[in-house]
Symmetry: C2
DNA sequence: ACGGGAATTGGAAACGTTTCCAAGAATGAA
DNA sequence: TTCATTCTTGGAAACGTTTCCAATTCCCGT
């Protein structure tokens, strides 16, 4: 079933049929109508490969999820796909975990396929960076801030991580906490952890406290088990913590378990604050106070940015979306 | 950069170059070597659109995720993508929530693109069924059992849901529970909920108890909020429950919260058992006893099945993988 | 009724592959 | 050495579109 079959059956030429398919001007209403009717009757569907071959623009948008197990990304993926689908854009997803070489290989692989666009989900700029210099495809980074990097085609949408972390720690400070431990992420520059740490540091400093990275910080991956182990470690190291700031909700979740396993209670003995507001933090026992980062909104803005780059060739933009501290039950006043 | 450029530069014809690219026989070692060298030198990458156009087999594998918010599927997606990627197969993901028309439209849309294969993630057979009769593409259903349906190209990989549910409820029964409430899923046939309910019913009957669906069962979607509301409802309706069986872990998570919100404790007042063993159930407070359904294994088997259908045209198969009851802290003996 | 510009139309060429067929080269048996 | 196989090779045709150019038709002002 061809465009030629449609042409033959409708009595028009292939050119005209193609124009109808692509909603182009210079087609009489009569022709359009007739052709549409024939297409419907025959159940014609254009062959996307032929189309892309000719148009030279290509395969679907490639999405990279950097950090398997971080629920935040799962929450973004759905809305992102939906938003793009509304504009007829497909996504091809690749799940990656930290390894730089693996990331590199995956990006190369997808690049070779000439995706029309790319989306990177992940806070760890570092893992991407090595591959970024060659990126000419319109791309958007979600969750990691690419504004420092000067790539012409690299947009990003993110919250102000520094400010958010500052408000989280500020929240703890206001409630009288002075000995605050931090778990999750790591200090390497360009990592999202670094930004959040910087925010925490600022808040602390405003209260005249200097963050002791050796003692009060324990890095870990953004997965439950990471949070569990890091928190255990932290708790063993210093006995006087009254609050823990987890740099991500999955981490907070592991942290909660670790605290309870040491026979302590949240927030009775230790207050806990998370980051992201993934679905389960409002169902956890106790409900976890956290920084709300709206996954749907992030996804939607990312789609918007990508789409406008795709359609009108809009230049890269770095967009900030709002965050919000949502108070629940895991923090108490001292 | 063409296959023709490679041909010209290497001194061979396009036919030979194509054979080299596709690892076909009847190419001399000398030719192969030379052509490979030229390809490497020029950084040649085949154009997949041209290739697929010609080969008529097409675009990537289409994956449908039926039930946004059910973490189980997020856990399957990663390993599935990884397994398929190892064989150079891309996946295009579409996220869907229940609506039959939406599902229908999405499947039609993807079908029109002639994916070489399809994977359906979701327990709700019903939503798919309307679209299934036209499926000619090799497909596999993960988590829902398609063995009743007789589609030639429709494989499935799943655990024995009936047996698993029976063992879950059996576990409760053995510990002395007699008044057991059930939340999650629904009774419509072909739904995964129905299978799990059937298992529960069997276990109950073995102990001479008849399941009263009106009183002791409350259906809901597989998301946290569903579990929360359904459980609240159930608890309000009957005051004498000593245990709740949640038909999915996300549901269990909402259930836990609902129970606690009524001032009851788990497992002190009410024992809770889940289904799936998604990551957070082992971190919840208390840790949730559940049926382990190995997401990675499910994904891997699904990939295997799909791949063999793709490569050798193997016929549809219905595969059962093992489940396991994992005892944690949310169930106590009466 | 006529001329001219705009709107519509048809069809050939091109996109980058794979595949098929025919031809040429190599091998081995007699 | 010769003939019959088998291996290797080149190149044309085809996959189903879009796009461009030229040709036709239409419409309107005079």
């Amino acid at each position: 079933m061809d465009i030629r079959d449609i042409a033959a059956k409708s009595g028009y030429g292939v050119g005209t049929v193609s124009r109808v398919i692509n909603d182009q001007p210079n087609v009489s209403d009569r022709a359009r109508e007739r052709i549409l009717a024939v297409m419907a009757e025959l159940g014609y569907e254009p062959n996307s490969n032929a189309r892309y071959l000719k148009m030279r623009s290509q395969t679907p948008v490639a999405v990279f999820v950097m950090g398997v197990g971080n629920r935040m990304f799962d929450d973004i993926l759905g809305p992102l796909q939906a938003a793009l689908a509304r504009e007829d854009e497909q996504i091809v997803v690749t799940y990656l975990n930290g390894d730089v070489d693996e990331v590199r290989a995956a990006i190369d692989y997808q690049q070779a396929r000439h995706p029309k666009g790319m989306v990177f989900l992940g806070g760890e700029l570092e893992s991407f960076r090595a591959s970024f210099h060659e990126i000419e495809t319109p791309s958007v980074l979600v969750t990691a801030d690419a504004s420092q990097l000067g790539f012409a085609n690299l947009s990003s949408v993110t919250i102000d991580n520094v400010a958010a972390a500052r408000s989280a720690v500020g929240h703890l400070l206001e409630r009288g906490h002075r000995r605050i431990g931090i778990v999750g992420g790591n200090r390497a520059s360009g990592q999202i952890g670094e930004l959040r740490l910087r925010g925490a540091e600022q808040a602390l400093r405003e209260h005249g406290i200097e963050l002791d990275y050796e003692r009060d910080f324990e890095p870990c991956d953004f997965i439950e088990v990471g949070g569990y182990e890091a928190t255990t470690c932290l708790l063993e190291r210093t006995g006087d913590l009254t609050a823990v700031f987890a740099l991500g909700d999955v981490v907070a979740f592991g942290a909660l378990r670790a605290i309870v396993d040491r026979g302590l209670s949240v927030p009775g003995d230790i207050s806990l604050i998370g980051f992201d507001d993934t679905a389960f933090s409002q169902y956890a026992v106790p409900r976890i106070t956290t920084i709300r980062q709206d996954a749907a909104r992030l996804a939607e803005r990312a789609a918007k940015l990508l789409l406008s780059a795709l359609r009108d060739g809009s230049p890269a933009t770095h967009e900030l979306v709002d965050f919000e501290l949502v108070e629940r039950e895991s923090v108490c006043s001292l």
